[in-house]
Amino acid sequence: MTTTEIPAPTARPKRPTAAPKRRPKREREGAAWVFLSPWVLGACVLTLLPMAVSLYLSFTDYNLFDPPRWIGLRNYTQMFTEDPRYWRSVVTTLTYVVIAVPLQLALALVVALALKSMKSGKAFYRSAFYAPSLLGASMSIALVWRAVFNDGGTVDNLVGNGGWVNKPGWSLVAVALLTVWQFGAPMVIFLAGLQQIPAELYEAAAVDGAGKWRQFMSITVPMLSPVLFFNLVLQTIQAFQVFTPAFAISGGRGGPADSTLVYTLYLYDRGFVASHMGYASAMAWVLLLVIGAVTAVLFRTSRSWVFYASEGDR
C-alpha cells in the first residue's frame, strides 16, 4: 500500500559468483531504504512540499477556489503594519507563554522534589498527578474549564469576581491555568532526572558540611539542568501552538474582546473561516521562524546554565 514506492536497488543479485563480502552490504543499504520508504515519502509529500508550497502561498492572495494571485510581500506588510488583531494575537500568545510555561515547570519541579524523597505512595502520586496531562488536551476538560471559570462557576464562588471567562483581563489566565494543571508530564521527567543523580554526590556534600539548600543549589540544580532545559524547550514550543482550550473557552471566537485570541486561533480564523489562505500561510511561516528563533536562543543561552556531567555518554 504505502510501502510500494521504493528506490531502485531492491532486486537481490542471486548470482553465486558475486563476492560474498560485498553483497550483504549492498543489500543492507537497499533494505534500509525499504524500511525508510514510508518516512521518506511522508517527509517529502507531507512536510517538505507543504513547507515550500506554504512559503509560495504566503506571497499570494489565495482563497482555495480561484488560482493564487502573486502579491509579493503584501501579506507580510499588512500583517505587521495594518492588522491590529494580528498584533493582538501575538501579544496574547506571548503573554500566555510567559504565564503558563514558567508556572507549569515550577510546579512540576516542586512536586518532583517533594516526591523524590518519599518512601511510600510515590508511585501513586506520580500516576495521579500525571493523569491531567493525558486528559487535559481533550474537549471535555476544556468545557469543564469554561464552566468552572464561568459566571457562577466554582472560581466565581471562591473569588467572587463574576467568572474569569467573561473578563478580558482574566480569561487568558484561565486558559493558562489549564496548561499549568497539566504539570504531570514535565514532573515525571524531572522525577526521572532526579533519580539519576548519584547519591554519592549528596553524601560527599553532607560529609563536607553542606546544608540542604547548598546541596540543592550546588548538586540538584546543575545535575538537573539538562532535564530542565529539555522540558523548557518542549513546553515552550507546545505553548506557542495552544489552540483547543482557547477555542473552547471562547466558543471559537477568541473573546471576550480578543483576549484569548491566541496566534493559532487567529490563523485558523484567517485561513479556514475567512478563506485567506495566503495570509494564513504567511502567519504560519512567521510562527515557524519565531519558534525556530526562540529555540535557537534557548539553545544559545543553555551553554551558560546547562551542565552536562559526562560528554557524549550515548
Partner: protein, 288 residues
Amino acid sequence: MTAISATTDRKPVRWGRIALHLGCLAALLVVLYPLVWLLATSLKPADEVITSLNLLPSHVEWSNYKTALDGVNDVSIWRLLSNSLLIAGGAVLGNVISCSLAAYAFARLRFRFRGPLFAFMIATIMLPHHAVLIPQYIIFNQLGLVNTYWPLILPKFLATEAFFVFLIVQFMRGLPRELEEAARIDGCGPFRSFFQIVLPLTRPALITTAIFTFIWTWNDFFTQLIYLFDPQKFTLTLALSSFVDSSSQSAFGPMFAMSVIALLPIVLFFLAFQRFLVEGMASSGLKG
C-alpha cells in the same frame, strides 16, 4: 531504588514526612477537582447545574446519560464513538507500523546520508504543525479527500509523527546487538532480523507508541475541525464542540455526560497502562 540516605535523624524526618503527605494530598484534591466536578455535574438534575453551589447533586440524575446517548444533531453517540475509534485505531496502526520501520533503519542499518536524515527527522519533531497545515489541507482538498478520514489517518502511515520514530530509535539502541549479529552470521537478512528479533524485543516502545497515539488522536480537535464537516462523520470531540454552540445552558447535564463518555477510553487506557505511560514519558526526556 536510589534512596537518598543523607540524614536519618528520627524526629524531623517523621514530621517532614507527614507534612509532605498532607501537602501532596492537598495538591491532589486541587488537581482532581475538575474531574470530580465533571462527574458530579454529569449526574445533576437540570435545575441544579447552574444554580446550585453544591459540588454533589441532590439526587443522581441518570437521564443526562440517556439524553447523551441520543447524540447530537440526530447522530447517535454510537456513530460518533465508532467514528472516533476508527480514526484513533487507524492512527495507531499507521504509527506503529511506519515509525517502527523507520526507527529500525535509523537505529540499526547503514545508509547514505544517515546522519543528516536523522538530524532532519529530529528537527521535524519541533516543527509546528501549523506550518504545514494549510498546504496539506490544499493537497487533500485537490485530491477530493476533505470530509473523509484519509487526511487524519494516511499521514500516520507515513511516519509523520517523528516523536515516535525517535522514541523507538532510542529504545532499539538500548537493545543488545549480539542476537542480531549471531543471526546475521547464520545468514539472516535485515528483514527477518527486524521481524523476528528486533520487533518482538521492541514491544514496550511499540505499546507506548500505540497508547500515546490513541490518546493524542482521540483528544485531537484542530485537524478534525478543519477536515470534517458532515455531522455524520463527526467524532465525539467535534460533536461536543458543536453541542456547546447549539444548546442552551439547560443541556449542560447531557453535555457533561457526553464529556464523561468521551474521556472514558482515555481513563481506562490510563488505568490499564499507567506504568507504560509514565515510564515512557520519563525515558523520552532523559536520552535526548
